[in-house]
Amino acid sequence: MSDPQPEPDVAELGVPVVEVERLEVNFKGRVGFFAGLLGRKGSDAKAVDGVSITLHEGEVLALAGESGCGKTTTARAIMGLLIPDAGTIRYRGEPLARSRRGLRGYRRQVQMVFQDPTAALNPRQTIYEIVAEGLRIHGVPGGPDAKTEDELVARALSRAGLRPPERFYLLYPHELSGGQRQRVVIAGALVVDPSVIVADEPVSNLDASVRGEILALLMKLREEFRISILIVTHDLGLAWTVADRVAVMYLGRVVEVGPAEEVLQRPKHPYTKALLNVVPEAGGTERPILQGEPPDPTRIPKGCRFHPRCPVVASGRAERIGILNRCVGEDLALEELAPGHDVACYLTGLGEEP
């Protein structure tokens, strides 16, 4: 993605907090012992292949795509939970340290919210212990205006909407509802005063009715504490409700990124459009649904990665307007279409709509 230019609508963005540049993550293919002896090699998966995204202060950025597109891997790399094969991640301009101490300092600033709150909580710890864990790891409370541990835990729990906090101290995760468990996970992140929250599908394991509450909580944190939030999601409807900007990923690459209003209302990439088509809508006018399986990162097609499933290619339109050769043969990068709105598709070069 391009650096922020002094354009009017881009200038509304805060300063960059997390900058990811040309990130690459490969997973080594594994083969069995005997297959290895026979000289067979596993196929490596390029889970993330040159992703550049920037998260600005106080911004909600949605990273969207199907499973296997590399969105979760990107999030995990940003969290420092896996070591990228190439590329840099900068936090407030500083490259992410790989040393233990450097990472620890970074992790106080960048916290994570997990997809399955039930699994993310140790069943043998009380809510108090779970929330206090971050404090104990980072040696807070400390410093002059230090509050006691239990004041900080209480504050985090009530900020996460669990009130009165004391009532939750001694409960175990299994005694809470799914929504409450996710609030505990959020409280556990909030307790160390982070400036960034990476939320990996934060509501997809929750009942539809409580999703809104959790999202509203995240919005409130952004509003009140100017926490930047990266939400990984497969649901563009969710992106519409909460995100300022949306980045759509396909097979390890960002294929479209821009302000949510633009990307979701006037998608410029055929894949974004296909994703929008599957957002359930009342009165379901028959919209074309992309057929086939989610893409396989061990076999990345040449040219535009989306071309084997692209409706523009399949309908013959790509051939008619003379971009087919490039679609199937030439790799392509994101190009700026409008300030802050980048697309990687040959259609846009011709000014065509998907």
Partner: protein, 328 residues
């Protein structure tokens, strides 16, 4: 004529901590060629109803009321008769397709199994039938010889649908059939279910917590809360102009992209579903309700008329008896 008719169904699980009422007086009706969507939060009793229809609940469970499936009084059937009815009159598609398959048996054998068990045809015809079923769910016949692990999640769910269709049942119960699937695959499976239902004239009871899925698939919707149906009516009407505050909250959880009312304002329902052993008095929803009135904690609402072909259990609907302090 209705394929499935449920009358005053009550289901109580027996646990060491006493009886847990999961379903408390539910009436349902599904006609031939109709899709009824049953929606509600987890724990509202919707999956329990699915289990009761084929009597798949724990033996000790207390079931009252009446379930009529294809003319059979399910709750009165002898075990032998019940086995005959299962799968031929009604079958079920579960959520966890991955776990409902035998990993060491070929797909073909698993689809043939119910056909052979019910003695509907011999081995050879059963295999031909299995092949046809595979094509119906959009997979090539050669897949019959595959093992489950060779299939993707979406393909497994297609196989589950093929298995459900095997004995040409009149009713298919789909319990969260797409919840575990990826977005694109979910849309594909929904499309498939809709096409099959339409082409075969099946009755389909579609159970999910995801109201937006139902709007695309269902003809009619029934919304469940704390073991009871709280609203019923045509799918579009219920989704677009919900009468019950609970339905309103559920519907509001699904934003329409491009609708600025949703932008930056996620909405949902506060609080948690009630404990089935401690259901609030009056309207069970009143502690979480945005339109609660003083009458709500004492008056137990019934399914009152809420418009043409619409029923809702709320004191605010037009068909409710006049109550003090309740405005409509």
């Amino acid at each position: 004529m209705s394929v499935l008719s449920v009358r005053d169904l009550g289901i109580e699980y027996q646990t060491t901590g006493g009886g847990v009422p999961a379903v408390r007086g539910v009436d349902l009706e599904v006609d031939r060629g109709e899709v009824l969507g049953l929606a509600g939060e987890s724990g509202c009793g919707k999956s329990t109803i699915a289990g009761a229809i084929l009597r798949l609940l724990p033996v000790k469970t207390r079931i009252t009321g009446r379930i009529e499936l294809d003319g059979n009084d399910i709750l009165e059937l002898t075990p032998g008769k019940l086995r005959a009815v299962r799968w031929t009159a009604g079958s079920i598609v579960f959520q966890g397709a991955m776990h409902a398959m035998n990993p060491v048996q070929r797909i073909g054998e698993q689809i043939m199994e119910p056909i052979l068990v019910h003695g509907q045809s011999g081995e050879r015809e059963a295999r031909i039938r299995a092949g046809t079923l595979l094509e119906q769910v959009g997979l090539p016949t050669r897949r019959l010889d595959d093992y489950p692990h060779e299939l993707s999640g979406g393909q497994k769910q297609r196989i589950m649908i093929a298995m459900a269709l095997a004995c040409s049942p009149s009713l298919i119960v789909a319990d969260e059939p797409t919840t575990a699937l990826d977005v694109m695959v979910q849309a594909q499976v929904l499309q498939l279910l809709r096409t099959l239902q339409h082409d075969l004239g099946l009755a389909l009871l579609f159970i999910t917590h995801d109201l937006s899925v139902l709007v695309e698939v269902a003809d009619r919707l029934a919304i469940m809360y704390a073991g009871k149906i709280v609203e019923q009516g045509g799918a579009e009407a219920v989704f677009h102009s919900p009468a019950h505050p609970y339905t309103k909250a559920l519907a509001a959880a699904f934003p329409a992209i491009g609708d600025m009312r949703f932008r930056g304002r996620p909405s949902g329902l506060g609080g948690d579903p009630p404990d089935p052993q401690q259901i609030p008095s009056g309207c069970p929803f009143h502690p979480r309700c945005a339109e609660v009135t003083p009458a709500c904690s004492s008056v137990t609402p019934e399914l009152w008329t809420a418009g043409p072909a619409r029923l809702a259990a709320c004191v605010h609907v037009s068909g409710a008896p006049a109550l003090e302090g309740v405005s409509r």
